[in-house]
């Protein structure tokens, strides 16, 4: 860890200005990811700007949904009665992530910005285009069982580790952002980006832009979040699925689906949704939706056996989740 300065401005705007002013500055929220990275030598900001008390810790009602302050902890968000009743997919995703201790610290603004758990990204001695642009990708051909099957590039095959973000990607979610030039709003599904040839850039946020709140609309339909992992708790997803399906009289009126553990982003399953929308909620339709979504999936070979298993695993998890979000009498 190299020495860094620590600043605690009085307002969010001042924090934004402070970070925007210095290319090596970073926001510090709950610290559950960044502090680890400081210790591991993955991140070495020269200035940490503490925003833990600068964004809202309130969850307020807005028209048809909730505005979640960026400072709301994962624990508080998962426990909120409105979230539990109207956004159960989000509550379930939150509770399947990390540990109770981490959820007490991790924030709404910070969680979607956590960086990949790729072991080559985590190890400063490994080549990693995300950590050191242009250095190469040691993950390709390495231990790849946790890596991407969708949207990977020859420069990066990392996955996004968040559970919460998978639920937010499935929902109608807007990200409220404060930047040096004022505020803007971004659809959550536009926040994260595929690696392409600039994997160092996880999101579309510009340097100095701060998430201040997240707006989520209540969807119609039944919710489910399924997570497949190597042990029953405290493990990242091999594959996860967030789904909200609005089925009336056996017909899918609307489908909101996202996959976790499979891509550089929380993966909005647009093809699956399109396949389902307007059609019957049947096993055949679910299978076709999964097939469509995973048509372009590509396994990563690896010395550990690779991740080809994730393709059928994603297919099966997706269809099982769709089944669960469909009223029994129609399935």
């Amino acid at each position: 860890m190299r020495p860094f300065a620590y600043d605690r401005p009085d307002t969010a705007a001042a924090a934004v200005a402070a970070v925007a002013d210095r290319p090596d500055a970073a926001f510090l929220g709950g610290g559950t990811n960044l502090v680890d990275h400081l210790r591991l030598g993955i991140a070495d900001p020269g200035l940490l700007v503490d925003v833990t008390s600068l964004t809202s810790t309130e969850i307020v009602d807005i028209d048809g949904g909730l505005r979640i302050g960026a400072g709301v902890t994962n624990a508080d968000l998962a426990a909120d009665p409105r979230v539990r009743a109207r956004l159960p997919v989000l509550a379930a995703a939150l509770l399947s992530g990390a540990s109770g201790q981490l959820r007490n610290m991790a924030t709404t603004g910070g969680n979607p910005l956590q960086r990949t758990r790729c072991p080559y990204f985590q190890d400063p001695a490994s080549a990693c285009n995300k950590r050191v642009p242009g250095s190469g990708c040691a993950a390709i051909g390495g231990a790849t069982r946790n890596h991407a099957i969708l949207g990977a590039s020859e420069h990066c095959i990392a996955t996004h580790p968040s559970d919460m973000a998978v639920a937010l990607a499935a929902l109608d979610t807007q990200v409220r952002i404060l930047g040096p030039d004022g505020g803007r709003t971004l659809a959550f599904t536009d926040l994260h980006r595929l690696p392409g040839d600039t994997p160092e850039q996880d999101t579309e946020l510009a340097h100095g832009e701060l998430i201040t709140a997240i707006d989520v609309s209540y969807p119609r339909g039944r919710h489910a979040y399924r997570k497949v992992r190597d042990r029953a708790s405290y493990a990242f997803a091999l594959v996860s699925v967030a789904a909200v399906l609005d089925v009336v009289d056996g017909t899918v009126l609307d489908a909101r689906i996202a996959l976790g553990g499979v891509a550089h982003t929380p993966w909005r399953a647009v093809r699956a949704e399109d396949t389902l929308r307007g059609g019957p909620a049947t096993e055949e339709a679910f299978a076709a939706a999964a097939e469509a979504e995973l048509a372009d999936a590509r396994p990563q070979p690896g010395f550990d056996g690779g991740n080809a298993f994730k393709i059928p695993l994603a297919r099966r998890t997706l269809t099982a989740t769709l089944r669960q979000t469909t009223p029994r009498e129609t399935a």
Binding site: S96, P119, D123, K227, V228, R231, D304
Partner: protein, 756 residues
């Protein structure tokens, strides 16, 4: 007056509260990482990033400029012999010109703050010439593979067992190849300790370890000091499981302390801990059984390869156990075993709970199931049929001269109640994936698996295995008090409680003080090989007997009476008359020190592997019941029931605790625990990425304890700690095979092996 036997809590057979129990549960127990000393400085270790490299030069210039740094040491600062090791002195205390594994210590820094020391370490410039690394143990012995050590080929130990017909045939032949991944001990207390210079050229080291005296010998060699000047005291140990048999920071802290003249604390971070201790050997096993159509084994062949990594550590003993015990607790007339351990540039592997047997058991138990299926025999009954009984010969020709209840153990676990068959809507927490809503039971299949295994207790093959106990009896404030002093390490297993129980039972006193474990008393031997209750227990018992004899001799002289005995805290004559109280006789303290040995063992014949290698065998069986989601590849262990012969349960709660913990550790290897090593580099050195079972993964257990006393052992005890780690994993693997129909010839079993 007649004597009355006063029943006192906390004797043998009871389960008194552990003296350390409450403190540990409430978080008040002082572990080695909590040690503190005024004016202490912090030591950190600079480690090699390469698995194989030559060190051309080390430049300390920039590092020494960091304010707060008080010393930086490299191999050239080692005053004595730069060589440590449990069995071979092949391990430099600090790398001297070459590094042989990722994480090998290269330099030490002492500074006034750990972060300062780390920053200074980062400024040390080591000029490495990276060399090709030997990372595949399967080709380590090939003639064109480079030698990991310039003065030695890559063979650490080659063991062969040849018994009976050299070319046996049988009507039924089954074979398999099996692979076991590298497991970590995953103790929670990091390697840590405090070295305090005594101002006269010597040092006191407080450290978490498994064997103070073998550490002391190694530290002395490196420091070039006699044992009187290197005194060790056991600090609070947060788990060991074999991972603290080798030195970690011991020598390093002492070097820094003697160099700076200040107390030096070292405490590894979690990621560093993965490089700070040895791991369980990964193994490649090829097995063949020949049997009659009625199920009796005719012959067995095994070829076992252990990856020892960069240094020998315990590899010779691991090969010894894997070879001599590697065919399981079965009666086999014709035997052909080859077991080898090799050097590579992978992480060093050494002692871990059940070593040698853990790896082999996965293979022999999978093959026993295969044999049963081939001839259409019940999987339990084939084990009962072939299982050893007392009086049988092992594959090394040794007579099993105490209980060997293999048939009873395996039938006992079979007959324990099974968990209820799933019916109706299921609580998802009981399903694979648990509370994260992974499945609602759609693709879930149940399977049941069995395993029975055995393990040697104590050190084997002629090792002079002993322990020392000093017991003092005195009157304090009118009450008799016993003090028991051994150097045997309490690592969490409960030895200090056992020592108290033995003293209470033998001496009839209620108050027993356990003296801190240190090197001012003779060696207690290692807290490993399930041996301490047997060997140190034997030493404490013998010391108590000597104390009792002294007390009675003194009483006889003082009272002019013969034929006295101790009954509780009373001195009683032959007729039962109380003639004095213990307190009356103990005008001066009585103290006796005894060095106690178990029966000798002997080296095995190098050509045939025959010989009386072991002192005692401990047997256990497990039945695992699993629910497997065959669509997602996830496993929920529903039940993990076990039966084990413990000889005699001196502390029944501690026995059950050992069995539960050991079973969890074995299950972890079967399901999830593996250090992933790619080209000699560890890819998952954290508890986020190296997974161990949590309470959600662990099922309730039915534990059936059998007590067939071993007439050769003190109180009839039989080692307890390791057998459960050996039989639980193979039972879990067998249950997954039963549920899925997949061969599953590698552990840990992952979702991709089950389903895809």
């Amino acid at each position: 007056m007649t004597s009355t036997e006063t029943r006192m809590a906390g004797r043998l057979g009871d389960s008194p509260l552990r003296p350390d129990g409450t403190l540990k549960v409430t978080g008040e127990f002082a572990y080695s990482s909590d040690l503190w000393h005024d004016d202490m400085v912090w030591g950190v270790t600079l480690r090699s990033p390469h698995p194989s490299a030559r060190i051309r030069a080390i430049d300390l210039t920039d590092a020494l400029r960091v304010p707060g740094v008080s010393a930086i040491l490299t191999a050239k600062d080692v005053p004595g012999e730069n060589a440590v090791g449990l069995e071979h002195l092949d391990t430099p205390a600090l790398a001297d010109g070459v590094v042989r594994y990722q994480g090998e210590p290269v330099a030490l820094v002492a500074a006034d703050h750990p972060e300062t020391a780390r920053r200074a370490a980062a400024r040390i410039v080591v000029d490495y010439e990276v060399l090709p690394a030997v990372t595949d143990p399967r080709t380590a012995l090939d003639p064109d593979t480079p030698w990991v050590h310039a003065d030695h080929d890559n063979l650490v130990r080659d063991l062969r067992i040849r018994r009976g017909d050299p070319s046996p045939t049988a009507p039924v032949v089954v074979s398999l190849d099996f692979e076991v991944g590298m497991q970590d001990q995953a103790f929670l207390g990091p390697e840590s300790g405090l070295a305090v210079p005594d101002g006269e050229g010597g040092v006191d080291l407080y450290v978490a370890t498994q064997w103070l005296h073998v550490d002391q010998g190694q530290v002395c060699r490196v420091l070039g000091l006699p044992p009187e000047q290197v005194r060790l005291t056991l600090a609070g140990v947060g788990g060991a499981f074999g991972g603290r048999e080798d030195l970690s920071m011991h020598v390093h802290a002492c070097l820094l302390a003697l160099h700076t003249g200040k107390p030096v604390k070292m405490s590894y971070a979690r990621d560093e801990s993965f490089f700070g201790h040895v791991h369980r050997h990964p193994a490649w096993l090829r097995y063949e059984f020949g049997a009659r159509e009625t199920g009796e084994l005719v012959y067995a062949k095994a070829d076992i390869l252990f990856d020892g990594g960069a240094y020998a550590s315990s590899t010779p003993a691991v090969v010894g156990n894997g070879g001599t015990l590697g065919l399981g607790p079965y009666r086999i007339p014709n035997v052909h075993v080859d077991a080898r351990g090799v050097y590579t540039n992978n992480p060093t592997c050494g002692a871990m709970r059940g070593f040698g047997c853990v790896q082999a058991a996965f293979a022999h138990e999978a093959l026993m199931d295969e044999l049963a299926d081939r001839i259409g025999m019940d999987r339990v009954e084939i084990r009962a049929l072939n299982g050893m009984v007392e009086g049988d010969l092992t594959i090394t020709g040794q007579v099993v001269d105490s209980a060997a209840p293999v048939a009873e153990l395996i039938r006992t676990v079979r007959d324990l109640p099974l968990p209820a068959e799933p019916a109706g809507e299921r609580d998802i927490r009981e399903l694979p994936g648990g509370a994260s809503n992974t499945t609602h039971g759609e693709g879930v299949r149940r399977g049941i698996g069995y395993a029975v295994t055995y393990k040697n207790v104590g050190f084997s093959e002629g090792f002079d295995d002993y322990s020392t106990a000093r017991v003092r009896l005195e009157v304090v404030g009118g009450e008799p008090v016993a003090t028991v002093h051994t150097a045997a390490a309490e690592v969490g297993q409960g030895l200090i409680t056992i020592e108290q129980q033995i003293c209470r039972t033998e001496l009839g006193v209620e108050q027993v003080v356990v003296h801190p474990k240190d090197t001012t008393v003779g060696s207690g031997g290692s807290t490993s090989a399930s041996r301490q209750t047997y060997v140190t227990g034997g030493a404490v018992k013998a010391a108590c007997e000597a104390v009792r004899a002294s007390v009675l001799r003194r009483a006889s002289e003082a009272l002019g009476r013969a034929e006295l005995r101790l009954d509780g805290e009373k001195i009683v004559a032959a007729g039962g008359e109380v003639v004095a109280s213990l307190a009356e006789v103990l005008t001066d303290p009585v103290e006796e020190t005894v060095e106690w040995r178990h029966r000798p063992t002997y080296p095995i014949d190098p050509e045939t592997g025959q010989g009386n290698a072991h002192v005692q065998y401990a047997f256990s069986a497990h039945r695992a019941v699993v629910d497997v989601d065959v669509e997602l590849g996830l496993v929920k262990v529903v039940a993990l029931d076990t039966a084990q012969d413990v000889g005699r349960a001196l502390n029944p709660d501690a026995v059950v605790g050992q069995i539960q913990g050991g079973s969890a550790q074995g299950m972890g290897l079967a399901l999830m625990e593996e250090i992933v090593v790619q080209d000699g580099i560890v890819k998952n050195p954290s508890f986020t990425d190296y997974l161990i079972p949590t309470i959600l993964d662990m099922p309730p257990m039915q534990v059936k304890v059998l007590e067939y006393a071993d007439p050769h052992a003190p109180y009839g005890v039989r080692g307890v700690g390791e057998p459960p780690t050996i039989s639980s994993g193979p039972a879990v693997a067998a249950a997954i095979r039963a549920a899925t129909g997949k061969p599953l010839r590698r552990v840990p079993v992952r979702p991709e092996h089950i389903t895809f």
